[in-house]
């Protein structure tokens, strides 16, 4: 199979802050350097793109020396945290912005689904928008006409095809938009997070279509998503980016695990110092630890044992808080939400939380999760206002234990959690 995309030493520099102040001076300086045949003075400066720290420099490298190549028919998953440069890379590939240095060589027609529904005009009907959107994406009128029925069918909007799209429900709108894009026939397709939209049925339809496009029709797909399950399901190879650089390229399974471990479980900043949180901080979580039923601290949890999650917090407001809700969302290593622990479903909303309270304890009997790594998002609110909400606040590891009291566990790969159950033979008593 031949190489269809070749990216060589690709870099992209952005200028931070207010665009208009100082740009004229910098423009003049750049121009002055260029007419004397010197190098652009602003290309040497610039720091890594780390969004958690405020940059000291005005210039930032969103991409720095990226090189890779993609072969025909490959589905390349691009993974990385927010700000890793994924979207910038796709923008350059889809030619909506140009690189600062380096080059990209492409063989075949390229089309992007950076965001579906581009150019949809609310006043135009579904039919008119299909043609407009298709043309924006590079199809000719004839091509759209040929696929018209298929597209309408895929989107499931036949009845409303001559209604202005401003009267569409948001679901219909997205389905129509995606359908137009899905029936494009480019050799290379760029997809960015479109799967975050639509209901579950439509999402699986989209995933199926993408699989179809790559496996059966031999098209090349570049896929960016934060949904690791989707990446693993679809992609044949991956590229893992961080702060504008390539960390690794290769086997998608290994990359997703590497990514998930770096982004969640080895978060070195302690909970009290985390800044990526939202809420009014009337309650601020500061630390988390785990205990067994005898009050001993645990470094990892054991399947089948009694476990207590202890959340320590600070109260930054002196008043007594009312109607306090606490929730913990537990994700597996692939980012799938496994379960949610919260005091609303247990009917234990704390009516009052006074100043003497310093921690919250959650008791779980017979801990049901299978061995593996998990991440927890914590949430708290008082009187309907969010107090503290930290995504992936902490992680924990579960090691195998005696859940069933038999010394046995279900085999690895047979599920993610355990359920207490009994078997029984029923005799035919009439015999």
């Amino acid at each position: 199979m031949s190489t269809v995309i070749k990216v060589e030493n690709l870099s992209k520099q952005y200028k931070l802050g207010k665009i208009s102040t100082g740009t004229l001076a910098h423009d003049v300086n750049r121009w002055w350097h260029s007419i004397r045949g010197k190098e652009d003075p602003y290309l040497k400066i610039g720091e890594e793109n780390d969004r958690t720290q405020k940059g000291r420099d005005e210039y930032v490298w969103a991409l720095k020396d990226i090189s890779f190549s993609v072969k025909e028919g490959e589905v390349l998953g691009v993974i990385g945290k927010n700000g890793a440069g994924k979207s910038t890379l796709l923008k350059i590939l889809s030619r909506t912005t140009s690189p600062t240095t380096g080059s990209v060589k492409i063989k075949g027609r390229i089309a992007s689904l950076l965001e579906v529904g581009t150019g949809f005009h609310p006043e135009l009907t579904g039919r008119e928008n299909m043609f407009l959107n298709g043309a924006i994406l590079g199809m000719t009128r004839g091509e759209i006409l040929k696929k018209f029925d298929e597209i309408v069918d895929f989107a499931g909007v036949e009845k409303y095809i001559d209604t202005p799209v401003k009267r569409y429900s948001s679901g219909m709108y997205v389905r129509l938009a995606f359908a137009v894009a899905a029936y494009l026939e480019p050799e290379i397709l760029i997809v960015d997070e479109v799967l975050a939209v639509g209901d579950a049925e439509f999402q699986s339809k989209c995933l199926g279509k993408m699989k179809d496009v790559s496996r059966n029709e031999g098209r090349t797909v570049l896929f960016v998503s934060h949904n690791m399950a989707a990446i693993q399901n679809l992609c044949t190879r991956g590229i893992y980016m961080d702060k504008g650089r390539t960390i690794a390229i290769g086997n998608v399974e290994e990359l997703t695990i590497q990514y998930l471990q770096s982004s969640k479980l080895s978060n070195s900043t302690s909970l009290s110092e985390r800044t990526d949180r939202s809420g009014n901080l009337a309650i601020k979580f500061t630390n988390v630890f785990f205990e067994n039923d005898r009050g001993q601290r645990l470094s990892s949890l054991i399947t089948g044992q009694t476990v207590k999650f202890v959340l320590l917090f600070e109260k930054l407001i002196k008043d007594t808080l009312r109607n306090v809700i606490i929730a913990l969302g537990i994700d597996d290593a692939y980012g799938n939400r496994i379960t949610n622990l919260n005091n609303e479903v247990t009917d234990q909303i704390f009516q009052t939380v006074g100043n003497s309270v310093h921690s919250i304890e959650i008791l779980i009997n017979n801990f049901p999760l299978m061995p593996g790594k998990y991440a927890v998002t914590i949430f708290s609110s008082a009187n309907g206002e969010v107090c503290d909400w930290v995504q992936n606040a902490f992680g924990f590891e579960v090691v195998s234990g005696d859940f069933y009291g038999t010394g046995k566990l279900i085999a690895h790969g047979q599920g993610q959690f355990l359920v207490n159950h009994r078997f029984k033979l029923n005799m035919d008593t009439s015999a």
């Binding site: 740009t23 909506t96 060589k105 089309a111 005009h121 006043e123 043309a135 590079g138």
Partner: protein
């Protein structure tokens, strides 16, 4: 990689852009898109209005009535012996074509940044589609003007139909090119300096008074500010236009050559600046 030797790439994306590249082939490939943009502009403009495209006719009629009152009755500015109604209507038709071409193409980057940010297509498609949709509008308004000319032919102001009328498309093309050229320059510069879009509104208003629309060029002859109006490349075009329609106008070869030169220059400069900006404007917009 398996094929190192002499591989043919369909597309190469690099930092540098060619200054004077005008890819006709690519734009031609996107002709369907161009027409759909024209259609979109037309449909969207008059959706949920009762009169719809009739507004294209009402606007010049009302403006003509207003000008008749202000410039003819109150200010008593002469019209070169041309019937005042026809004088104003013809001027308004041409000026609104120019000013619409200019202001709408000047909005290319800012107004379409949401589309430009997501998909690639030759950016030039949009300003060209603006000019095309204005041509259609001009066609409608010109039909109105022609009807008025014929009507006045029956009411004492004779129609002067000649072969010169065949030159009208050339005139329209020149005015469209100036509007397009200036428009894409302004649109390129507004991506960085937004002040220009505010200035443009003023500029178009002032521009109308610096062009012989509500007065003939002969009226300013010998006045101190004549050179300002003479500098305006649109002036000779408007005078030629009136000469074709009504047989009266003030122009010479030099002024027409000046306008031709200006048009070529502004179009080249426009394409050059546009090409430079279209690659990177998403980072500054």
């Amino acid at each position: 990689m398996d094929n190192k030797n002499g591989k043919e790439w369909d597309l190469e994306i690099t930092a540098r852009s060619k200054a004077l590249e005008f890819n006709f082939k690519e734009i031609w490939r996107y002709r369907d898109l161009m027409l759909l943009f024209v259609k979109r502009d037309f449909i969207a403009q008059y959706k949920q209005t009762i009169l719809g495209p009739v507004w294209h006719v009402i606007q010049p009629v009302l403006t003509t009535v207003m000008y008749l009152l202000i410039f003819n009755r109150i200010a008593r500015i002469p019209t070169d012996g041309i019937n005042p109604t026809l004088f104003y209507l013809s001027g308004i038709t041409m000026w609104s074509y120019f000013s619409q071409c200019l202001t709408h193409t000047a909005n290319t980057f800012i107004g379409n940044s949401s589309i430009f940010g997501k998909v690639y297509f030759p950016r030039m498609v949009l300003p060209i589609s603006v000019v095309i949709s204005n041509l259609i509008r001009l066609g409608i308004q010109f039909a109105l003007l022609f009807i008025a000319i014929v009507w006045f032919d029956f009411h004492g102001y004779p129609l002067t139909l000649s072969f010169l009328w065949l030159l009208l498309p050339v005139l329209v093309a020149l005015i469209g090119c100036i509007g397009l050229g200036l428009g894409i320059i302004i649109s390129s510069l507004t991506t960085k300096y937004r002040d220009l879009s505010v200035l443009l509104t003023f500029g178009v208003q002032i521009g109308m008074y610096a062009t012989p629309i509500v007065y003939p060029l002969s009226y300013v002859k010998g006045k101190g500010y004549e050179w300002i109006i003479g500098m305006n490349p649109l002036t000779p075009l408007l005078e030629v236009y009136r000469y074709i329609l009504f047989g009266k106008g003030t122009f010479d070869l030099y002024s027409v050559m000046y306008t031709l030169g200006f048009t070529v220059f502004i179009l080249f400069a426009g394409v050059m600046i546009f090409n430079k900006v279209e690659k990177s404007f998403m980072d500054t917009v």
